[in-house]
Every structure is written in structure tokens, then in C-alpha cells.
Symmetry: C2
Amino acid sequence: MTHSIKITRRNLLGATAGLIAAAGLKPSTASAQQAAAPAASTAKPIPAYVSWKHADSMIVHTPTTIETKRSAIGSSIITPSDRLFIRNNLPAPSAADIGDVNAWKINVEGVGKPQTLSLSDLKQIGYETMATVLQCSGNGRGLFPGKPSGTRWQTGAAGCVMWAGVPVREVIKALGGVSAGMVYMTGTGGEKLPEGIDPLAVVVERSVPLSAMQDAMLSWEMNGEPMPLAHGGPLRLIVPGYSGVNNIKYIKRLAFTKEQTQAAIQKTGYRMSPVGQKGDPSQPAVWTMDAKSWVTSPSPDSGPVKAGLVQITGVAMGGLEDVAKVDVSLDGGKTWQVARLVGPDLGKYAWRQFVLAATLKAGQYDVACRVTTKSGVAQVVVSTENAAGYLNSGWQSHAVKINVA
Amino acid sequence: MTHSIKITRRNLLGATAGLIAAAGLKPSTASAQQAAAPAASTAKPIPAYVSWKHADSMIVHTPTTIETKRSAIGSSIITPSDRLFIRNNLPAPSAADIGDVNAWKINVEGVGKPQTLSLSDLKQIGYETMATVLQCSGNGRGLFPGKPSGTRWQTGAAGCVMWAGVPVREVIKALGGVSAGMVYMTGTGGEKLPEGIDPLAVVVERSVPLSAMQDAMLSWEMNGEPMPLAHGGPLRLIVPGYSGVNNIKYIKRLAFTKEQTQAAIQKTGYRMSPVGQKGDPSQPAVWTMDAKSWVTSPSPDSGPVKAGLVQITGVAMGGLEDVAKVDVSLDGGKTWQVARLVGPDLGKYAWRQFVLAATLKAGQYDVACRVTTKSGVAQVVVSTENAAGYLNSGWQSHAVKINVA
């Protein structure tokens, strides 16, 4: 989050105490942790509203920011729901808030025939399944050297998820197409907003370029089960290739608009602001994700590594295009070897797993990886640090030191 | 299971009472249910050893035979672990029985350099991920007209699962290759056997043709988490394209052999015996699975269907080869329409999802589907009924009647 949003959220903590309590969070803990921007810790308990998360696989930063340990991401491409990270800008609604999920309503605007549709209606319109990398905009923030403010995510505010739902383009087609002159697709989250505060200061409403509509989905199912509330159920907008915040949870309005929303989370929040500067609309919005990869095993949070043959594994994403190649280095980037891509290809918005089988003698290794996309774009060496520490994709900061004994 | 095995198991119930109790099953319930071969019911509770299964998605036949409801299979290709069926020939070991999973041992025999390997050793040798349909040999038994003995599975003793582990061929290569003259790959399960009974009568040991080795895997991870004990952890043999019983749980011995094992589960069990006959080695073994598909939604166990556009969805597998096409019929097979395949292709051993969008008026529809594989093999109309009701793949018996209002 940007500095300005952060101040807003701190101010909000009193007002949202009721909401936070309703969501099963401890308000005192939440406020203390957000003020302190603490380092990762496994000591904090999993909060009640996501009690079904696999505690041993997670790092709880705050009750609304929970990441997957580097070594817990697994080797099955899809991240199990109980190991997927949590990052909610506002507390998730409760089941009582939602009621009958099939009666959930969304207003579609900026189309030929604007309409209010229920989830049942959407289920009649179309059916698709796709895998995407869901990644918090701030994933890797904790690996920037300058300690930007915000949750100090390592690698685990990311997962590869299978979504089912209806393609946005099919909904729009059924409603007479996008109205002339529209430039953005704007989604509004259905979180309960605290009273007495300008809604624009707090609402989760994001605009993305209209072109993102082509592959976007209104999704009601995640990894084979009805979308959990903590992840945006009953209905979430999935914008493949775009960072987490653009994938609007509990979506209640989908509008095609000429301008970007005036909500703070868009106007000043989630901007690529130079270090020391506040966010403003002249700065690039945090939208698409870059090519990025990281080693998952061995890693500092997995067990000791025995000398001999070692399977060095990891995940690699291409952003908006397919992964072509992953290289692995054992010497911090001086020399590279081509890794093998592993398992089925779930499409350009998913990640690939890779492995390099290396025979390692006892010693310390500086293990790095870098992905190259189909069109030849290589993962950057270092991402430019920005005020809020967004979109860190540099391979250097994601390298791990491995001790082999 | 075949008749002869069934008798053996019934005789065993007294002897295995301790084992069953240790696994969290109620022995009285287990014995009563197995004797009665009851119809499916949602009323029975999920047993303690799989308390993490999603109760609303499952049909508990007995404590060791639990299937997924037809409509609960989801639209995300991979079946979530908490919705995957359970069918255990013997009670699963407890975590205390297993101890340190990485110390689990497997003996590999019938190779150049026979060896005992730990799970840690295997993790060093290789790394692969693959999706397969895991399907109980008796899935669909309850749809045979003749009521063969055994659990009356409908469609839900099947799921599509992502496995990670080491390819068997890589392990064998590391051990000097398969010895000359071997014809079968024989896996032995690590279940605790009841005392005082000929082990061959009860051990879960299966032989499959040597050719199955090429794509087989020794797997320690299922759907992104360490293999659950209820599903064969710490280590399971995955034989893609072969029915469930051939995918040996808690595998402790992998042997390349000249003959099939003399274990009852192979010799007389899991044979395609003519109705009224006992199993014997002259009958075909229950090995590979056939091309098969079924509708998952709408289905009798999902909600009412509203007239208008309806998304008719299902799953389709090709057995040993890719799915090429799925046809859907709304009139019990008189006329057919080509469905659309949905979502990423996870490889020839996985299933595909399909959808047909149909505009339906009020009335009753007899909805059927049939898959055709890449080489042109079509799903059979009717599978030949056999004594134990194995491998029912006929599209006619898998059709559903749908009421549209």
C-alpha cells in the first residue's frame, strides 16, 4: 500500500474495530501489528476467520496478511487453498453478511444493456476454468534493501490457483457489449465500509485497462470448491496477469468507464511512486506483473541439505506470456545452467515448476534463478525500488544461500 | 472386490477389530455395513481418520468406502483432497505407525542393484509432477443393473489428482535397470497385516505389466501437500491409466518379477469374472481403465434447474490416451451435440472437463455423454457386467434424468 493509504488505514483502525471483531480478528493485535510493520514470524496464530489454513505452512504477519513459507509451496503447480496467502485490504465479510451465495448480486454498467445479475444468472451465461498466478502487489517487498513500508512479504504472497466461472467477455456480450468510448474496466468490492468516512478513501475499487477484459473472469470457484469468503467469495473478479489488488473480491459492481476510479486505492494507492514520494495519478498504476521466478527447495526454511545429488526446484511465471526457459545459478549469477520445466503447462497465466538436478559437495551455495518468457523477455536482475515496495521481481534479491553438509 | 476376497475379508473382521479401532473406525459399524452392502447414504458420519474430508461433498458407504457426490466434483479439473474418494482395502496406518516420513523405506528388487531406499533417498534421485485420474476399480458398480456385490459406487469413486514424486524409471535406472526376463512390476503395500492369517490372503500386493513402469511414479505429494496417510502416504505407487487398486499405498516393496504375485488380491481378486463365477488367474486382471465420461451438473444431487440457458458440464477421461471429443445427448442418446473442452489440458492420464450450453424448455431430459479418444476409441454404450461389477464405463448407465422447470 502507498504511504497515503497507509495513513488512512491507521486512522481507520478505531472505526473498523467492529468490523474486525466481526471477522474474528483481534482488534488490539491488528492495530499493534499494522503500526509496527513487523518482520515475518511463525509465532503468531492463524486468525479465526481462516482457521482452516495449514498453520505450519504459513507466516502470519498480521491477521489480514498471511504468506506461504517458501518451502511450503509444494510441487503440484496448484497451491492448495489451505496454503494460499491471505491479503485483505478490509476484513472479509462473514457468511451471515453474505447469506445465500447464489443470490449475490453484481451490477454491470457501461454496457449496451446495463443490468443487475445474480450469481445464479452468471452460472447460466457461461463456464470456463483457468489457472493464474495470484500475487500480492507487494510480494517480495521484504527483499528490497531499503525496507519500504508495508508488510515485509518474502516470496509467499503468491500462489497458482485454478478458477472456475464465466468469462467477462461472455457476460458483456450477453449485455450488448461495452459502450462506446470506454477505456477502463472498473471493479468494486462488496466489503462493508466503515461509517462516517468518505467511501472513496476506503472502498476497494480498481480500474484496469479495457484490454484486460479479454481474459478476465467472474469466478465463483477456487481450486474445486466454492470461492471461500476469505478469498473473495461468493464472486471474485480474476484479471489474469494483473497483481492481486486488481482481482476484486466480493465484486458487486463491474463498470466500463472512461476514467479510472477516484477511489484512493487507485488514485494515490498502488502507484509506482519513487522512494520518498507520495502516490499520485501521474505515476504508473500497479497493474501487470513481471516475469519472475524463485527457488522453493532447498531453501532456508526447509531441512538440511545432504551432499550428493540435489533437486533444486522452484516456480517461474511469465507475467502476461508463457514461460520459455528457466536458468539456475549456484554461484550467485556468475554461471547458469538451464533447468527442466516440470509437470503440465496450465497456460500462460499460470506458473511453471522447474528443477535442476545438481551434484553438490559440502559448502555454501548462492542459488539464484531467472526466467525468460516466450518473446525473450528476461527476468530483471534488480527491480527499481519504489516507495511502497511493489512488484519486486529482481532475481538477485530472491536468491537463497544454501548450506550443503 | 471379488466374491472370494469378500468372504476372506468378512472372516477377517474379528481379527482386524484392533486395527480398525486403531484407525478410528467403529468395528461394529464396519462389520454391519460390509455384511449388508448398503446403498449410498449421506446420513453416515465421516470417520475420524479422515475427519478432514468435506462432509457435505461425500457419500459415506462404509468407513473405508467414501465417494464424492456427482455434483461435488467441481469445475477446477483437480479434485481437492478433502473431496477425493476413499477406498482402503485395509485400514490406513496411523501417524504413530509411520513415524518419520522421510525415513520410510522401500525395497527395490528385480533390478541390477537391488537396494533399500528411504524417502529421503528417493527425493534425491528425481522430481516430476503429473496429473492422473485415480478411480476405484468398482466405480460405477452401483449403476450396473444386476446389483453385483461390493460397494454400490455411483460416479464418485474417482478424482483427478496432481502427484509429485520420482519417476519409477529414474529409480530403476539408478539401480542398474530391470533384470533380464522380468514381465511384471509388483508393488506391496505397507499395511499392518492381521496375525494368524496367511499373509497372501490379505496383503495388498499387485502386479501390472512391465510396460506400466514407463510412466509410473513413486509419489510423496498429492495436490500440493505431503501424501495423506488415508491416501497412501508417506509413499504411493502411481500407475497412470490403471485403476485404483494398482496404485499401491504405503508402498514398501517394488519388485520386477517373472510372475504375477500369488496374493489373493491378484490371483483371484480384481478379475473380470463372468457373473456367477469366482475369480481365477485365467480371467483378465483389472488393470487399465477405459474411456469414460459422465455429466456432473446438472445432476440429481444438485439444485433445481431453471428453464433457459443451461451449462451442462462433466468430466471425460481417455484411459491410456488423450481425450479428443465429448458428445452430449439430451434425449438419451438419440441425437448428440459436440461439447466444448474446458480449461487446461493436464495430459493424457488426467481427465478433461467439458460443457455444452443448451437452451432448455421446461420438461424432463435424459442427459448422456460419451467420450472419444485421440485414436478414435469411443466410450462403450454398455459395459459387460461382471461378477464384482468392475470397470463400468458404459455411457447409458451413467446418464442422468434432469427436470427443468
